[in-house]
Symmetry: C2
């Protein structure tokens, strides 16, 4: 690659991408060098285009391209349920399950007072405003099953319950298809605590 | 990601990259969405720039940005040695070893008559032309240690030896730091055949 500064510039930029190390960056660079110019242009265009076209949905703070995000704008969603998640990236895995048909609300993070993430730094006021009418019957707390996510869920549950809204939390437990032998203690402990009648 | 076609376009383009599956593409897309616009622009620019700036070195067929590639243009390389490789991507790993200080010649592939890769499809005539003078003392055949690479190496050796040039081949054998137990039979067999006095 010596004597080709634009290859080095490309490698440096590619290596900034998450999950791309020096070897992957080199593989991608060679793929671009061997490929059609149109291919490289389409990729470059898509990268810039996404920054121009995408903003946050003013209702749920998911990524949106029109006025509202596709889920808020859809007339096929159950408007009596709001699933609360930390980040927009948490929505696609839930959507892929096909098990949820309601709306979402993206907090933009999780409570972490030590790092200065207090309730006013998250989209909590906006969530409470959405619960003002009588349309929403259930709030599904789908924050991550870690310390910050649990803290956030507890905080929101205390805030929402007085409104008469049903508040639920995603179940924690053993992964489906997983092996008891390889389960970590925290997960197995939670699975025992929240065991259900069979 | 619903309702955001430009995210889907980006995901499609990212997934074309080698080693990038749907999950990595999504991770990269969210990283771009969360990041600075300038970051996305630098990446896009680097991708297009590399296609504009990079061509093949007219001497060795490595990637080059100036007239010659950095190695051919350097006055620090030993011009009495030419290392023959299949593709430009084979050069950086050899350079990283620091064990070779000569020039290179990129064939642009390996002989494979069944797939129509005959000697005239590779940069073999250009290699022979470089051996015309008396400058080159040794040709190191560093084609891949697989069927096509070995075939190519044998073919080149027969062609080059009559010129009075020393012809060498990269050693095959056990990986350094590797475990005998996990060596494949072909590698271990080669290591026994080419064992050296200790």
């Amino acid at each position: 690659m010596q004597g080709a500064p634009s290859i080095q510039v490309l490698l440096d930029e590619l290596e900034r991408m998450p999950g791309v190390g020096p070897k992957s960056a080199q593989r991608i660079a060679y793929w671009l060098l061997n490929g059609e110019r149109a291919q490289a242009e389409r990729l470059a265009e898509a990268i810039v285009q996404v920054k121009d076209a995408v903003h946050f949905c003013p209702v749920c703070f998911n990524y949106a391209e029109g006025n509202l995000c596709g889920i808020c704008a859809s007339d096929k969603r159950d408007r009596s349920q709001i699933c609360v998640v930390g980040e927009p990236r948490d929505i696609p895995p839930i959507e892929r399950t096909g098990a949820y048909h309601g709306l979402y609300h993206v907090l933009g993070g999780a409570l972490n007072p030590l790092e200065g993430i207090t309730p006013d730094r998250l989209h909590i006021a906006e969530l409470m405003a959405r619960l003002g009418g009588n349309e929403v019957q259930e709030v599904v707390l789908a924050t991550n099953p870690n310390v910050e996510g649990e803290t956030t869920a507890s905080y929101l549950a205390r805030l929402i319950r007085p409104l008469g809204c049903k508040v639920t939390r995603l179940a924690s437990g053993l992964p489906v298809g997983g092996d008891l032998e390889f389960a970590d203690e925290a997960t197995l402990g939670r699975a025992i605590e929240t065991r259900r009648e069979f």
